[in-house]
Symmetry: C2
Subunit: 324 residues, 2 copies
């Protein structure tokens, strides 16, 4: 969301907010998915706004679950188990008791699903759109946090689940794709409701050298990791795990591979780990029922390249990470 | 801010949000100033909205400081020292880089003043008003937290600083009072910029039996404390510590004693402590430069009574705590 002449969101964070973390190494210069709090906790905050992150009139249960899940994903991406959360709500007067009851029902459903508990909150009126912020606190195991920095040459690059569904769901919602009903519905649901990999994240602590969740697009997020790790990364486009619905969409419109690689909001985990970790990763996939797929490798150098089947380099107009 | 036919903010919290804290005793049933996080931390979140908690066009530095201070006050009221905080911002496009720079300067000033550090944050665009939420994390000493519940018959009731300035500042801003320039300016500043008692709060751990910060009005907040403690409280109106400016206002309009007793936003600490604590409290007042004044006592029973000089009971139309 650009502001003419502005240094942009990242510029603002670097110039004016990162200096406020001086003396707080746990803030990780505001470059990671969550901050470190004391020895064994992580903490993150994310806000969503009606008309920006969800639509006016969206079911309150869905809004509640999306709100929790974007934050759950950040905690999982640090290798931590989410435990507690706090809620700040600014609600316009059209959010009546029935709205709040349904919203709380959505929160309760995801609390049960992810084993988290509300710890505190604040509620205020607003003359504007529904604005909701969640602070999520998670606990680390003895292996500590997995940061974005730490990928090493020789590591393999892995992702959980399937990539591109959410971005294709947005395309499908625009009716720009000739898809079967089931495929369309699957992709749209992936866009509407993130599926954070909470069961996988903490199990990767001690195995992954670097990790983040895919929220800005696979290539863009991998660039984040490569940059802070001081390495280059290479992915094989043909190795990207696709859902059946995404495969159907790509068969229909092969050019959508760019959407798959650069679209955001997958909320899958993207991590670098040594090849020796492969047996442990297979065990985690079996235990959690979440596929874990090697899609590339870390090299010396800088930047991210996506290769086609023949080893040629794919070139994209956008890498999905420029939030100017 | 009423919604016709609604069960109100407190009703919503009790019915739909408090049940989400089941299994999290640190949430204190969402009835305290902050929640307990692990053994020695407290955490709280408070949001402020343009047009509700501050005015469109207010100086960004002032907005920043108010935002931090309402949260600092909550941490102080638990007997904890604030250490870290997180920021969620929803900013409309009219908040340009210059606005953000001034906002961050206000944050930096209060970080230095209160010895806190930014740990993480989130920034998003909004089509609505500026909406800001801060999560503040504080550390407890060995004496643990001071909760709202815990006041005992025989305890004395104390307040820090002076009472009523913010509420009188609001009256003065409406030009309904014939006051000198200095007094008017002092009261308005107290309304615009809270002065949280961060230096006093943590020193009261182990001394105070119950504590909160005065944000809903002295009588109303004392009623909160009495109710959750299962006791009655009695305050001597003549003992309430007043600033010179407030005294000038009361000399002009004696009926404003009701505003002093029931107006909100003082952000002073209100606590119950045994009379044996008096010497330690005098030492804390001397050390911090913040006056601590006994204003009443805790009794068996329920409810709060304010007494005039002759021991007669003052009767108020509102006790300042009904947020319907």
């Amino acid at each position: 969301v650009g502001v003419t002449g502005s240094i942009g969101e990242f510029g603002r964070i670097r110039r004016w907010f990162a200096p406020l973390t001086e003396g707080a190494p746990g803030a990780l210069d505001l470059t990671d998915d969550a901050a470190l709090l004391g020895g064994d906790q992580v903490v993150t905050v994310d806000a969503i706004v009606e008309g920006v992150h969800f639509r006016a009139g969206d079911p309150p249960e869905l809004v509640a679950r999306k709100l929790l899940r974007v934050n759950l994903s950040d905690v999982a991406a640090m290798g931590a188990r989410p435990e507690h959360w706090l809620l700040a709500m600014a609600l316009p007067s059209h959010c009546d008791d029935a709205w709040v009851e349904r919203f709380a029902a959505g929160l309760a459903a995801d609390q049960a699903e992810y084993g988290i508990r509300l710890l505190g909150g604040d509620s205020t009126a607003t003359p504007g759109p529904i604005t909701l912020a969640v602070t999520m606190i998670g606990r680390l195991g003895v292996a500590g946090a997995v940061k974005r920095a730490g990928a090493r040459p020789g590591d393999l690059v892995f992702v959980t689940g399937t990539i591109g569904d959410a971005a294709l769901g947005l395309v499908a919602a625009g009716r720009a794709l000739d898809l079967g009903f089931a495929a369309r519905q699957f992709l749209e649901e992936r866009y509407l409701l993130p599926r954070p990999r909470v069961s996988v994240g903490w199990r990767l602590a001690g195995l992954a050298h670097a990790m983040l969740d895919v929220s800005d697009g696979l290539v863009g997020d991998l660039e984040h990791m490569a940059e802070v790790s001081g390495v280059a990364a290479e992915i094989d486009a043909a190795a990207i795990p696709l859902s059946d619905a995404a495969a159907e969409a790509l068969a229909e419109a092969p050019g959508l591979i760019e959407t798959v690689l650069t679209g955001g909001d997958d909320y899958e985990l993207l991590f670098a780990a040594p090849s020796e970790a492969a047996p442990a990763l297979r065990a985690i996939a079996a235990e959690t029922g979440v596929p874990i797929t090697p899609i590339g490798r870390i090299r010396e150098g800088k930047g991210v390249r996506a290769l086609d089947r023949d080893g040629g380099v794919l070139d994209f107009a956008t890498t999905g990470y420029r939030h100017v």
